[in-house]
Amino acid sequence: MEKAATIVSLPVLEPSPGALLRRRVFGHAGLLIGCTVLSVIILIALFAPWIAPHDPFDQVLDRKLIPPVWSESAKATWIHPLGTDHFGRDYLSRLIWGARISLVIGFSAMLISGVIGTVLGVLAGFFGGRVDMVANFLITTRLSMPVVLVAIAVVSLVGSSLTVVIWVLGLLIWDRFAVVMRSATMQVRNLDFVAAAQALGCSTSRIVFTEILPNVANHLIVVATVEMAHAILLEAALSFLGLGVQPPEPSWGLMISEAKGLMFFDGWLIVIPGTALFALVLAINLLGDGVRDVTAPDGT
């Protein structure tokens, strides 16, 4: 009897938030696929100098237009698994180095536009009134400008380089951030916990950073991934038009552009960078959707 009395009942613990999150992440196929593909592309881009079998700029004219290894052609060789282009440059190496450019442009443009759009949207949604009017005017002005046309105009005025492309895209695609952040902030702003924080004596900046932003962050992540994919496609489009990254840099858009003359004879020259672009954009979008699903407070 004495012994029984000393047994202490351990408190029953609810599953910890971390465990719940892990369960959600590993139950979400789209998120896992997107994450894997994106990680692989990022790793390839990071380690390009060690992975790429050849110098992407090295032109060997007597080895030009070798088809990839899976073709029936006798010229196909394992020295150039994806073949060579019309200057005899190794296509696999150019693809690997091109991943760097796509990711750098997508990520930087997303960051620039994300900062502009989020600041504008959160201010407009939180303060309303005149601030909202100004923000709305800026958003409408921005929406009335066709992105590709403005980008072409700017690039042809100041000349094109990687930095110019990043800034032009970053300064042009913040509209969706601003619109989504504005409406999300307006919704959260009217909830009672914001009033409770005000009644506790919190300053406005504290309320924005600790009460509003954590509750709109999942929208932010989704828009960020969509816009990153958008920027990558826009870069490809600009490079295809000859106004983006300049040759001989190996950008995927530029590779498609350079191959368009040979499209009917050596189709793989377009199919390979096109597939890479498709895989990257799809992976980013899957990741964004997955993050949204997993971080939603009800977690369905």
Binding site: V12, P17, D192, A195, A197, A199, G201, N215
Partner: protein
Amino acid sequence: MNGPPLVEAREVSCTFTVSGGFMKRKRTLQAVNRVSLRIERGEVMALVGESGCGKTTLAKMMMGLIAPSEGSIEIDGRPLSSLDRMEVARSVQPIFQDPYSSLNPRRSIGSIVTQPLRVQRDPDPGTWKRRAQEMMELVGLPRRLFNQYPGQLSGGQRQRVAIARALVNRPRMVICDEPTSALDVSVQSQILNLMQDLRAELGLTYLLISHNLAAVEHMASRVAVMYLGRIVEEADTASLFDSPRHPYSQALLESVLTPDPTLGIPDTHLGVSYPDPLDVPPGCSFHPRCAKAMPDCAQRMPRRTELPDGAGVACHLHAGTHAARSAPPEGNRTARAQDG
């Protein structure tokens, strides 16, 4: 009562500008119109009235969330406008109606309950967790919920978290804006009883805003009835529920449904519907709906008359009877002195 009241509103008004739409004139909405209200230490003041009569606006002004357009609010005899945001927060804390929107879904329960201590830069961070857990136990929440998130809690538990957050800094007054109306009927009485117990234990003063007249009768020591931004009657709970003086208070009490189905829906004699607050009727704002309206009511706005039992009524019926018949001349003089 000794000393100044805990919270006193003096002739406060609050006006909002409402835009009528594109190219239309802006109109003003008088949400609260020259309201005076004294809340003494330890009492439970209830504020009742239809939706949109300005109860919540008055409460928000008392928390310093909205600045009054006219008049002043004093806490402990010091004007609220001269007090620091943090000082107001230490004295007055709110409990909201909807516990689903009053808790940040991204914060854990522990983070929500310790938030007031963090915001106030409480000097003793080592004790925060212990104090928050003590407060959680006091409001009937098991400690194991400390690391949970609001999404994992029931409505009643969430309202207890909101109460713990309001009380962890030991405020003197709690403004409860319909604290039970979003809850399950079975949980409502639990929360009301918890609030009663906490009041006794921590020496709190409540301002209770409610549509639930049974809850008001159960909890409150005094009741103020609001109509279209004005207090039309203020009296002790017992005398208001026994003999409401203002025709609007009478209608409000008659509107309560009884459990006996044979009695049908009560007739409140209120006739026309609630008027447009943007276009307040002249004279006594209640006269279009009043069963006892006199020709005078549409012309002059009634002033508040203090009655001998400590109640105050703003109605021509009572101004007349009181001044002319029932009250002795000295009583009349004191009433007027209090009025001014």
